[in-house]
């Protein structure tokens, strides 16, 4: 576990990109420790805020000694507030958090699949994989063109980029998983990395398994603390011992092996989980 740091950061820039915002946070002491898949927890609301909890965002880019960057969608109150901040504003951040993507030791083929702002960590990841000699295919999907992120940057960082949109406004009409089997076969990928909505992750994990590839999925569970102390962010994950446990996605995740997450049982407590209620008991 990398030690997380809590720092007062200056917003170095904040700009809209498509349906999202791109923020650069000063983070000179943090950036060097960031690995692809880490996230940052951002305090929102400023003086006198009613919002107690931080918002989690994948780290998009980290410039050692200088800054970290995120891509976010203005969704509810906290992100709406964040979208009104300006260059020079000071914001409290905690990073790097979580368990990042596991990188292969061999120069294997890897497919990166992302939905919407799930593309945020993929640039760093593609770079890290290519540094290890991996061939990298990227599939980016979104509901519609304005919700695609990172197409141009990833075209530079990866060997090829395929785009899908639900409405066909850009790239192929359809889902990322429609393009996934081909991509896996093309480069004989041994691993699939995915970041996006739960339904997408589930489908990606299944397709990867079917094609004999491992998958590494970055999940997005609602988190109160982001640092492992509250137990709100759990999901059922099968351990090395075959036992399913309710596991914290902020510490043990957000990245999990796709074949270990019990996707169909997310948001439930499976009856065979470690510590499950006994009949007649709790």
């Amino acid at each position: 576990m990398t030690n997380a740091q809590q720092v007062t950061s200056e917003i170095l820039s904040i700009e809209p990109v498509g349906s999202y915002y791109h923020v650069v946070f000063s983070a000179p002491s943090i950036a060097e420790f960031v690995e692809p898949g880490h996230f940052v927890a951002v305090a929102v609301g400023g003086v006198g805020s009613a919002m107690l909890l931080r918002r989690a965002f994948s780290i998009h880019r980290a410039t050692p000694g200088h800054s970290i960057e995120v891509i976010f969608a203005a969704h509810g109150q906290g992100t709406e507030w964040l979208s009104t901040t300006r260059r020079g504003d000071l914001i409290d951040i905690v990073a790097p958090l979580g368990t990042p993507f596991a990188l292969p030791n061999q120069p294997i083929g890897a497919v990166l699949v992302a939905g919407g702002y799930g593309a945020a960590p993929m640039g760093m990841l593609a770079q890290a994989l290519r540094e290890r000699g991996c061939e990298v295919e990227v599939i980016l999907g979104a509901a519609t063109e304005t919700k695609l992120f990172g197409v141009l940057d990833l075209a530079r960082d990866a060997d090829s980029v395929t785009v899908t949109t639900d409405d066909g406004s850009s790239g192929l009409r359809g889902r990322v998983t429609d393009a996934l089997p081909n991509a896996i076969e093309r480069i004989n990928a041994k691993v699939v990395y995915a970041c996006g909505p739960m339904a997408m992750l589930k489908a990606v994990a299944r397709v990867a398994s079917e094609h004999g590839a491992f998958s590494q999925c970055a999940v997005e569970e609602s988190m109160a603390c982001g640092i492992g102390v509250c137990m709100t962010c759990v999901l059922p994950v099968i351990g090395d011992d075959g036992v399913t446990r309710m596991v914290r996605s902020c510490v043990e995740g957000p990245v999990f092996r796709g074949d270990r997450v019990r996707w169909d049982d997310v948001h439930t407590v499976p009856s065979d989980v470690f510590g499950a209620p006994v009949v007649g008991g709790h």
């Binding site: 030690n3 997380a4 740091q5 809590q6 305090a43 009613a50 919002m51 107690l52 909890l53 931080r54 409290d92 905690v94 569970e221 609602s222 109160a224 603390c225 982001g226 640092i227 492992g228 102390v229 509250c230 137990m231 709100t232 962010c233 759990v234 999901l235 446990r245 309710m246 510490v251 997310v266 948001h267 439930t268 407590v269 989980v273 470690f274 510590g275 499950a276 209620p277 008991g281 709790h282």
Partner: protein, 307 residues
Amino acid sequence: MSVDLSTSLGSLHLKAPTLTASGCAAAGRELAQFGDVATLGAVVTKSIMLQPRSGRATPRMAETPSGMLNSIGLQGPGVEAFIEKDLSWLSQNGVTTVVSIAGETTAEFAELAARLSNVPGIAALEVNISCPNVESRGQVFACDPYAAADVIAAVRREWTSDAPVLAKLSPDVTDIVSIAHSVREAGVDGVSMINTLLGMVIDVDRMKPLLGGRTGGLSGPAIRPVAVRAVYQVHAALPDLPILGMGGIRTGHDALEFFAAGASAVSIGTVVFGDPRAPWRVAEELSSELASRGYSAVRDVIGLAHR
């Protein structure tokens, strides 16, 4: 001016006035990246049960105005794994540890007390009676003076250590003073208050309660006025009963309110999620608040609002 921040809860001397709150700091380890947990008044561990427990379905939390709801459902590894992994880490790191226990029957509480009695490194026992009593159609122990007293009496019988026993009270009662009376009669050395208030958020898209557990516990600054009132009432009625105060403490100023109302020490819960340094920061701020008002020791302000 340097302010003496040491205090005590009954026979337990505390080098610092701020503790973590049960369920809001796990067993201390994760907070260690943000500060030295050995310098805190104590770490109060997540309520532990006899057996491992998976907790409730997610979503387990909802942010609410100046607060949050949680329905964790006491997820935990069970007391044996807790002793082995968590307590040992806390001991090795010199952390003052208050162990919180929870059960579904009076017997479970008693068994936990018995099991923990001879385990070294426990500075106090916090008995979380704000759990549903399965033998009483799920009524929360802390909501019934008799059930609450039964649990405390049972724990007291099994607890052979000198470390004080605290009862953690629920605010969801018509008369919290009567519950405090009752657990005091049953032999507690102090009370922790308040636990969360029962609340609910509806997900109006799914038209269902949002939380997996349907209802949840409301915590955070939203409930602070209720907590301060509860501490004030109990201190007024039982001025000698030590109180560990909590409920929405965010700043040293907030903590000072609790001391003035009658708390002898305070726990920082929900606010830690937004600010992992809060237990240390609040102590520092408390020191300045006291100094700027000319007090030289936190002990001097305990219950001062009752004059």
